[in-house]
């Protein structure tokens, strides 16, 4: 397993190095995943290249999700992309960061229709905007919700409820 992951990582590293428009990007191995951090202005072009270049062939989008790192100044919001090459069974992961305020990424719904709801979920949970998304509205929560609940600053419980007595639960 590990030898194969290293092979994939090397392949990815040499591919990233060969792209002239991409800054120097280092591929790390985290458990059984090669992963790399890519600038958010380049992420769409890179994913397209990786999908369409026959030497890479990562044509399957496994998952996409938003992450919130309030302690990282300037890199508060993150989107994780995970790709799969179904022929060689290799999997890779990319991260892209942006700062607080108006977190915006380019949509990848034009590459994978599967990204549609995943991006809507990331918008719903974190308020991350995806430019060019055909229908970026809340998906799981009610339309008139006024905050993005998975951001770290919000409580898990509903603030407005009055029904449960917290004194017995140590909260």
């Amino acid at each position: 397993m590990t030898a194969k992951v290293q092979e994939t990582a090397q392949k990815l590293q040499s591919f990233l190095d060969s792209l002239s428009w991409l800054d120097k990007t280092e591929v790390n191995i985290e458990f059984d995943f090669p992963e790399a951090v890519v600038d958010k202005s380049k992420i769409h072009a890179l994913l397209q290249e990786i999908k369409e270049n026959p030497s890479m062939g990562f044509t399957f989008l496994t998952t996409l999700c938003g992450i919130h790192f309030p302690s990282r100044t300037g890199q508060e919001f993150c989107v994780m992309y995970q790709l799969h090459n179904l022929y060689t069974n290799e999997r890779i992961r990319f991260y892209s960061f942006t700062q607080e305020g108006n977190p915006t990424f380019a949509t990848i719904t034009d590459l994978w229709p599967a990204a549609n709801w995943m991006e809507r979920e990331a918008f719903d949970f974190y308020g991350i905007h995806f430019e060019g998304h055909p229908n970026l509205t809340r998906i799981l929560n009610v339309e008139d919700m006024d905050y993005h609940p998975l951001r770290k600053e919000y409580r898990l419980e509903d603030d407005t409820r009055t029904d449960k007595d917290d004194t017995y639960f140590g909260r």
């Binding site: 799981l140 929560n141 609940p149 898990l156 419980e157 509903d158 029904d163 449960k164």
Partner: protein, 183 residues
């Protein structure tokens, strides 16, 4: 030809019996009839719905309780079985379903989520359906076993039998629906 009808003594309401006649209060008779012909509306949302399906299935056989026919239309249903988590997004839907049901109507909250929100003490989950509609029987469990659901249904049947014909005009019931702003 033998035309005599034997009534199960357990089902027989209180009354006077003589040769060829049986006298009882109308209330008792209607209660007995209602009790054994409830039409439940399964409002199954999640895990409890699967256990409800199991109860409906051949091993546990809900038909034994006069619930042969599930009513998927709220307008013909007598008993609303809310099985599973009700999120806030679903709350108005549940309330509308309840409002569409005709009197007399009863409600079972099946499982921890429907009764109190269960383990999902979160921003998106309604903390018990009794926030929006009145509930008659709560069934604990996550999810309750089919036996527990059956026990809950027996409890509802007891309620149905003893509550009287005109449940709606009783002050207790009036007070209850006023609390929920229902008509």
């Amino acid at each position: 030809m033998n035309t005599s009808v034997t009534i199960d003594p357990a089902l027989k309401p209180e009354g006077y019996e003589g040769q060829g006649f049986f006298a009882t209060r109308l209330e008792n008779l209607v209660g007995m009839a209602r009790k054994n012909s409830l039409w439940p509306l399964p409002f199954a949302t999640s895990c409890c719905g699967i256990e409800f399906m199991a109860t409906m299935g051949s091993n546990y056989d809900l038909a034994r309780f006069g619930m042969e026919r599930l009513s998927f239309s709220p307008r013909q249903a007598d008993l609303l079985i809310v099985a599973g988590t009700v999120a806030k997004k679903l709350g108005p839907v549940l309330r509308q379903v309840y409002e569409q049901m005709a009197e007399p109507r009863w409600v079972i909250a099946m499982g921890a989520c429907a009764s109190s929100g269960g383990v999902f003490d979160t921003y998106s989950v309604l903390q018990g359906i009794d926030k929006i509609i009145p509930v008659d029987v709560y069934i604990p469990g996550c999810p309750p076993r089919p036996e527990q659901l059956i026990e809950g249904i027996i409890k509802i049947q007891e309620l149905v039998q003893t509550e009287g014909i005109d449940r709606r005009s009783t002050p207790a019931y009036q007070e209850k629906i006023a609390k929920y702003n229902l008509q």
